[in-house]
């Protein structure tokens, strides 16, 4: 019997209409766990580096995590993988909600889609019955609206539907996949789905029971996670801003206090910091706006945290929101009224675009207009107020009309097309993708490494375990480390105790290079485990002192699956998965030069020190100075086949490795 997983993938070829249920190799679970890990393995085996994002040979994989659908709290994530049209690398964006557990109960660990449908279709998966159905009547429909229409026409209110909007249909490079209260937004997965002619996937699972290997032991561990989660919510960490003091993904719908984001993140095209923005008046007005439109705080499957919300803005259709997109449009458009943020996000959610890249692309266009690089002719018919311009741009981008067609490829590719100095304005990218709008003073070596090497394309998806800033007083630091049992080793407590906001033991030179490597590696490791297990980082790697950590994860995985597991073995698997993701991208051309944060991310930069940092981290990760995993490190992780491939392709330079 297979435990935790179903042991089957659903393979669908949209070109031929062929549908197969394929048994998976249990050995892969031992080597890669599942979720992102096995996605990376499938991409490695089946998507050669020549494959273009919009080729029928590109795969689009919807994957559950290893623990998805088990009683493990918050194990509900769907990991979606494909080749990104924007970065040209392997994209792995993910979403919470209810989709992955429903897939498991229908009997599938993954849905693997290849080929292209000649006409717009959607998939209907009900247990063993899988149909490719006509979706021509859904063309142009909103991503939220589509989910409702499909459930209605199938007469299946309990189905869960992942859908694209107009942006995905028109292959906008930052199109999202929307599902219930969640979305997989980064890196243009929705564009690939649209390119495949796939409007939506509806799934309903009724027949498959998800088994666990050692039930009594497993349920006790789940109980402990739930109990600790609620204790953490009731005991916010002193000295932290609201969203890092408590758990959640983060709790942007609950919290109205946005002093930290509005004053520390930058406005417009990732330009201006407004240090005195959060006045009493703004606080009152914004709080009122949020409470008025927030109908209910809601959760994902089997999770007590209410990170999402049903949003009812008068005059527009209801939608669900979570996280940071309430602010991204408002701040990028330079609008001081949060009501605008909730209104435009409704339209953007129906169109299905990424709430990070989308607003920044629009702000970029406005800047180009102001700089005279784009002209009034490009903006013919566009209103002149900040709000009106954003709506106008949004409508054009998702339809690829006029200047919108150029902008729909994101700032990097648009700037290349526009030329005439436009490239200077696409200034906030890593690997051709728009990043969180942050521009800070002093180089932060921990974040420097995360930004540089994080291939997920979203900084919040790699940070978390280590505090973002030093506490001024030793007593505060001592209090912090007292119940910090999540550390893999007590030396992490020492690093924090020694760390000061100013003086000898402060940034950028403390934590030192070795310490930074260890801290970043720990944070990344926990994210890789989450992404393989399908556990939400809001209960885990994104947070300080989370309920899931390196000490209980091996026990949880082992009790669920029956696979022997300890911290060492789990760490090894996470490294293997990490190398495999890197390897997929190296084979597609990723090198050290791609590991570069935006030039203006910090005002005070230390090029020589940054080089030392990156050198050290590469070595720590088992990569050569080009950022390529070494033959030796690959062999240690049973990835000799990757090293062989690198050799055959001449990726290792002469005399190296």
């Amino acid at each position: 019997m297979r435990y935790a997983e179903t042991g089957y993938n659903l393979e669908i070829d949209l070109s031929t209409g062929n549908i197969e249920r394929v048994e998976t190799d249990p050995r892969w679970t031992e080597l890669y766990l599942g979720g992102l890990g096995t996605n990376a393995k499938i991409m490695w085996d089946r998507v050669p580096p020549e494959t273009e994002p919009f080729s029928p040979d590109n795969l689009l994989i919807f994957s559950t995590g290893l623990l998805g659908g088990t009683p493990a709290v918050g194990a509900n994530r769907t990991m979606i993988t494909t080749i990104s049209p924007q970065t040209q690398f392997m994209a792995y964006s993910m979403m919470g909600g209810f989709f992955a557990p429903e897939m498991k109960y229908a009997g599938y660990d993954k849905i693997i889609i290849r080929g292209k449908s000649p006409k717009l279709v959607y998939l209907w998966i009900k247990d063993d019955k899988v149909e490719i159905r006509d979706a021509s009547h859904l063309a142009g429909k909103g991503a939220v609206e589509t989910q409702e229409l499909i459930k209605r026409e199938l007469k299946e209110p309990r189905a869960h539907v992942a859908a694209i909007g107009l942006a995905g249909e028109n292959r906008v490079f930052f199109a999202s996949i929307e599902q219930g209260r969640s979305s997989a937004s980064r890196q243009g997965l929705g564009a690939v789905m649209g390119d495949k002619g796939l409007k939506a996937i509806a799934v309903r699972g009724t027949t498959k029971d998800i088994n666990v290997a050692r039930p009594e032991e497993f349920i006790k561990l789940c109980d402990e996670v739930l109990e600790y989660t609620m204790w953490r919510q009731a005991n916010p960490i002193p000295g932290q801003i609201p969203i890092t003091a408590i758990l959640g993904s983060p709790q942007e719908m609950l919290e109205c206090d946005e002093k930290w984001h509005t004053e520390n993140f930058v406005w417009g095209n990732a330009r201006t910091r407004r240090k005195d923005f959060w006045s009493k008046e703004i606080e009152q007005k914004w709080t009122e706006t949020q409470l008025n439109v927030r109908t209910r705080l809601i959760s994902c499957y089997n999770c007590p945290l209410k990170c999402g919300a049903l949003i009812s803005v008068p005059g527009v259709a209801r939608y669900m929101m979570k996280c940071f997109s309430k602010l991204t449009y408002t701040m990028a458009a330079y609008v001081d009224d949060l009501d605008f943020g909730f209104r435009i996000a409704q339209r953007a959610t129906e169109y299905g675009i990424d709430g990070f890249s989308g607003p920044q692309v629009m702000a970029f266009a406005v800047e180009l207009l102001e700089a005279g690089i784009l002209t009034e002719k490009d903006f013919e018919g566009c209103p002149t107020d900040n709000e009106g311009r954003f709506y106008w741009l949004l409508d054009r981008i998702v339809r690829r009309e006029g200047i919108g067609d150029v902008l729909a490829d994101g700032t990097y590719w648009a700037a290349k097309k526009i030329g005439n100095g436009a490239e200077e304005f696409a200034h906030n990218n890593i690997r051709k993708q728009e990043q969180a709008p942050l521009k800070l003073g002093m180089l932060n070596p921990i974040y420097y490494l995360m930004y540089s090497t994080n291939e997920k394309g979203n900084i919040t998806q790699i940070e978390g375990q280590f505090p973002q800033f030093a506490y001024p007083k030793l007593e505060q630091r001592e209090a912090f480390v007292k119940d910090w049992f999540q550390v893999p080793d007590d030396r992490f407590k020492e690093y924090f105790l020694k760390w000061e906001p100013r003086g000898e033991f402060s940034m950028p030179f403390y934590p030192g290079i070795k310490e930074c490597c260890e801290i970043v590696d720990w944070m990344e490791r926990m994210h890789y485990i989450d992404d393989a297990c399908g556990v939400c980082t809001g209960l885990s790697a994104f947070h300080l002192k989370p309920p899931y950590h390196i000490h209980n994860y091996p026990k949880i995985i082992s009790a669920a699956t029956g696979i022997d597991m300890d911290e060492e073995e789990l760490t090894k698997i996470s490294k293997r998965d990490r190398q495999l993701v890197r390897a997929n991208n190296v084979r597609r051309g990723l090198r050290r030069a791609d590991d570069t944060p935006p030039e203006d991310h910090w005002k005070k930069r230390f090029p020589e020190y940054e080089k030392q940092l990156l050198d050290a981290y590469f070595e720590f990760k088992g990569w050569n100075m080009d950022g390529v995993p070494t033959k030796e490190s690959l062999q240690e992780l049973d990835l000799a086949y990757v090293a062989e491939d690198f050799e055959q392709r001449g990726i290792y330079k002469d005399g190296e490795d």
């Binding site: 109960y105 209110p157 219930g180 009724t206 088994n211 039930p215 089997n302 007590p304």
Partner: protein, 179 residues
């Protein structure tokens, strides 16, 4: 018949507090798996959510008695401007809908308040509902003694209703001869 003291077990449902996570369904089906917690599948749960997020509808419903026949009419409730689907509040496992029937056998299921030996402090759906949409309450009442009908009998009764006593007896006799 003699009067006896009976423990009345109630679950108070505050739908305004429900966050829609369906942990109640998950843990119910896990508890009732055999062996306990060895598997889960919300379709086997004795509590189900009527859930329509965009309409702000979150209604946990417990499986009640098995009903041999469907009602002559259906009901639709509108509360606080929210229109609930047909028969949303009904707890019966009835022939008009799939709800509260085992997905494999079609046999009806019923909430047993997580009866266990030794007894649990509260049903597990309540324990896992940490947002307190479900609150467990107990009180004692004097009632006439009555015969307890166990799960097997409920299941058999529904089969009698469906296929007739004669056919059922024949089938069981045949099955027992086969061993």
């Amino acid at each position: 018949m003699a009067k006896i003291k009976k423990k009345i077990k109630t679950i108070r449902i505050d739908i305004e507090k429900c966050n829609g996570c369906r942990a109640c369904e998950m843990i119910c089906s896990a508890f009732h798996a055999n062996p306990k917690y060895s598997s889960n599948n919300p379709e086997r749960s004795r509590i189900r959510m009527v859930r329509d997020p965009l309409k702000d509808i979150y209604l946990p419903v417990y499986a009640g008695e098995y009903a041999a026949a469907e009602c002559m009419g259906r009901d639709i409730y509108i509360l606080d401007g929210r229109e609930y689907e047909e028969c949303a509040f009904c707890r019966a496992a009835c022939p008009s809908r799939d709800l509260f029937h085992e997905p494999d056998s079609g046999l009806p299921i019923k909430c047993d308040m997580c009866e266990d030996e030794p007894p649990l402090e509260q049903p597990l759906c309540v324990k896992w509902c940490v947002n307190d949409a479900l609150i467990y309450e107990e009180r004692e009442e004097e009632v006439e003694e009555e015969e307890n009908v166990d799960d097997v009998e409920i299941g058999l009764r529904s089969l009698v209703d469906k296929h007739g006593m004669e056919k059922l007896v024949d089938t069981i006799a045949r099955m027992s001869q086969k061993g």
